[in-house]
Symmetry: D2
Subunit: 351 residues, 4 copies
């Protein structure tokens, strides 16, 4: 089978590098274009990119020449790791030119006709693409993956919402420095320190994105899930892996053991079975009193599985627990890649 040609927009940044890495020898996709800023255009990726990941730069990328962020003839699909302001301007050009965009940027996430997708959580939301094409007159489309903190959180909420309902949630994150990109957080700001704010409207994102993803789609519109959410977002001295403490008021009471069963028993939707990047487990539940931990649990399922622990009664509401997920894999490039695989399976992208 011939592979689907894809491009990576904003390939030299940190999330772009993750795309480059995850697409190395992907069974369905072949990278044919890497785009970058003026500083990088015309240079090889090996020269233009200050590689910051621990795994080495894949060979295929090293000699590719970085291009301007303009739709190329070949790609059927573009992965966007652009900053929000550039994404806002560039992504529609690609959609207009008939490309499917799997964007990690926040630029279009809150548009009513743009889905935020976690394939194993809300695969049906891709149908919003039909409304989007009608409204905007695009041959292509834009879909997004959520903010990195919303990702693991929404994964944990999905089975609980389904089984018990959710009335209210208060969540507090402890986020890794890689979430800020490179160079991102200055070392003087985080060594022996906590920064009790993330900037860029992070708390608002965490308060709205999960509700949109957990909402229901009908008549080309998404009705957000009707629970209330409050978020505190913090930066801590961790390289990768966002930890979130969650307190929930449920629709109906549930013991910790029931919550555990709901999480472990969650079945992958039919739509995602067999996707190459789907992990074996959606959620891993740990029974130890001191897990999940970023250093020990972020690589569960190759960084695609969320890890939940410390499920216990909440003296104010019903239940509390901790959820951890890998912010630059499931929470960014890996999430967008799974989105692309879903879109191929659903034939929004021709293979």
């Amino acid at each position: 089978m011939k592979k689907i040609p894809v491009s990576i927009l904003g390939a030299t940044g940190m999330v772009g590098q993750r795309f480059v890495l995850l697409l190395d020898q992907h069974p369905w996709f072949q990278v044919v274009a890497l785009t970058g800023s003026d500083r990088s255009i015309g240079r090889t990726y090996g020269e233009a990119c200050r590689w910051v990941l621990a795994d080495p730069m894949p060979e295929y990328a090293r000699t590719m020449v970085v291009q301007a962020t303009e739709p190329d003839a070949e790609s059927a699909l573009a992965f966007s790791a652009l900053p929000a302001d550039l994404a806002r301007e560039a992504e529609p050009r690609y959609a207009r030119a008939g490309k499917g965009i799997c964007s990690n940027a926040s630029a279009y996430r809150q548009e009513p006709d743009v889905p935020i997708l976690i394939p194993d959580v809300n695969p049906d939301h891709t149908r919003l693409i039909d409304a989007q094409r009608k409204i905007r007159g695009w041959k292509g489309f834009i879909v997004t993956n959520p903010n990195c903190t919303s990702t693991g959180l929404t994964m944990a909420l999905r089975p609980i919402l389904d089984a018990f309902g959710i009335q209210r949630a208060i969540v507090v994150s402890m986020q890794a420095i890689s979430g800020a990109g490179y160079p991102g957080v200055a070392s003087l700001d985080i060594l022996d320190n906590v920064i009790p704010n993330i900037g860029g409207g992070e708390e608002e994102k965490v308060e709205s994105e999960p509700r949109k993803m957990l909402g229901s789609l009908s008549d080309g519109k998404i009705e957000p899930a009707p629970f209330q959410m409050s978020a505190h977002t913090n930066r801590v001295a961790v390289s990768d892996g966002h930890t979130v403490c969650v307190s929930l008021e449920l629709g109906k009471r549930a013991a910790p053991e029931e919550i555990r069963k709901a999480l472990e028993g969650y079945e992958f939707p039919e739509a995602v079975r067999g996707l190459p990047s789907l992990p074996e487990k959606f959620i891993e539940v740990r029974g130890e009193q001191d897990r999940p931990q970023p250093r020990k649990d972020r690589n569960a399922g190759g960084g695609m599985t969320a890890v939940v622990g410390r499920i216990r009664p909440d003296p104010v509401w019903d239940i509390k627990f901790v959820v951890l997920s890998h912010n630059t894999i499931r929470g960014a490039a890996g999430g967008a890649l799974l989105n692309a695989e879903l879109l191929v399976a659903q034939k929004y992208i021709d293979r």
Copy 2:
């Protein structure tokens, strides 16, 4: 004026070292005895103690000989930095021998006749000593300071409770490694990591101690403040300074600006004015979007002032904010020292 002779129980541990440091040239107190474990007894403090603080060991302590933890003839007052199990057994011996105990241990905090004190929060709770003496037949007494995380949190809650009432609270801590003593947290456990649990019943302490301190005393009994509290406690890679994210449902609505005014306008109770260790400010409120931070704010007021920031509306309840306090100064030895000063001022200790 002659200084009051005091002893430090468990002087070689981390909190014990803070006592040794804070009591150096104290205007009211003079250290006459340092106690330690069998391993240390008979050796000089300079030899027996692996000093871990950044400030150097005070000269007065270096040549003192470490004694067994038995009431000495001279001390009027003992500061206890004992672990809970040893405190449970040793502190009553001192109280029986007529000594006042200012204990940092958790052993007796939940006894109904033992007050947990923050002098500028609940100075009237010292009256519980009278009931305690009657019940136990002691000439001395035991008072305690709260758990390090409860301390700054309770300071922030006091003015809010007074002005607006509190119905429910969900709090999430990010706690410094010094809270676990020395050697305490293994470096392999915390480098590039978060541990989402503290152990030792930390969450239960945080859920109960603030309510006891903010409760009302009558007829020799404390009625805890009638709000609900849920706590998540986490360890992060910070040397000193506990950060707590707080969400509150109030008795009556209040805008962030009103909360700020209540915190900044809090007046020290009459009973504590003029105490040597009282900081200039009870609470410092910061207006920046990224404060308080442990490295920048823990030393406010010499480590005795709590710092509050990011006061903003909570979309689920009423208000949310962040509070930071120095866990081994205000949250441990400094808190116990202020307790002792209050007890002198209130004549529970003769000078």
Copy 3:
């Protein structure tokens, strides 16, 4: 082919855990016994072991029952992760019982009849086993791998010594916390800090072990390589990966480019070719001005390749450079495993 039954002595500690991990599905070896201290004996490994590695505990080990450190009937070979004092006493019992010991402990490294081995550096030193058996009357034997800091350093020195000779060396290490085992280094000692000493005679080991390994064996005796060595050893806040700065006075002058060629051109000795744990590259030379770095380079060759960078002229002597190697893989369990594979290939262990 039937696998060779092996045991792991001191299996619950940090190096023991690495053995457990590296021996999972090893093509030649099958773990049949795990030994531990009194506290662990009789419990399953899953219960007895506080697992600290980021990779999960292999399934095979979880249900094995921890035994006393006494020679079992089945094992042909024992990997020793014992502390030096226990190793001194236990390892000879195994050797007497006919077992081959591949020891990570320092207890016997300096004995004249015990080889320190890096198979791709000095495979011929296994012949010292013959002398050892004669002297001690053992059917089995003890071989050791070097101290973790000596390992990468000696790998880098081997090709340089061969090509240009070495007169004098001054080396300064920046060592990872995992080198101290678990719990090992207290977090309060290393956060925002450097400890300019390792303890346990680390500097003496680094000053002597490389010279022994690079020495020549004749008449059942090793003549250490005749260069002088001075070491400074430091602990830094790194989880895995020891970095060593090296300044050398050579036997004959060599340009940086010649050193690079010698390092990259080093050919694996015939004796080690085809060993399962041998990495593709002995040494990887990096040309960037800021490499090697622990976080980016420690996993080169699965942690079995040493990485050298910053080869440049030394204004005092001839050449200086930086070498990095993974301290708990090549520098401990992985090194011992490669030793065992060599011993099988050389028929010191029957398969």
Copy 4:
């Protein structure tokens, strides 16, 4: 006595902030001008400056309006915290306008007529100012303080050179992140990592500056001290405090105890006695096997004392030891301030 009006050039950067802090209530100097980049000019310092130090911004500075970096009428003296490229261009304008410049920048350090000063090491080198004025026709002058790593190192070498002579030195630094300014080192580059290079010619500076400072001045020329020096410079995850491992070949043999005596017995030159920023001790020698450490020793003498430890024989040469000094106090702003005080005492600046 009226205070001497001074300005701080590049006041908003990290070293500039240290100047602002150290000059708060200085007995001799009064800050009358703060300069900054276009982005800052015209705004108050409180607004323009992202304050990164743990101590709060002094009140005097908060409301001062940041000016362009042009000689003002009032200042007699300017402290320069400019980056090297701006310093190269701006500092001569000040010198021409009659101002004395105490520069922390490297721009002019290697000029033969510009002294690098550590007042308690080479106070006589200020006489180079006379040659400088003659050659350049300036009424003012430029003096510099050394690179932060050279500072503590040179302090340790001075007494040893005087007492025993030095033939050769190999030094390896482990440098704090604050040495790179703010934002400086990205957190992703240093968390769980070491960077084995500093950039900006750091090693060359460390190899030349100590020799210039320890050289002799005659006929308006400095003859560098005739020993050889090789440096490896590394960045580690430490906030403040540069640690340097030093191996020395001496002119004549000396036991560790003699070295200790030479270091502790060093007498402040007559010229510096009574300077306000002079610490009580030039060098503090620690006898513990694990000191000096950045977190515990960087604040010795208010950050102005160098701390030496682990003095021991070097098996290759004669002696080895570790020296630590505070890189942004003695190694930058504090050093420049002491230079200014010396220049006042020597009447190069009128009071």
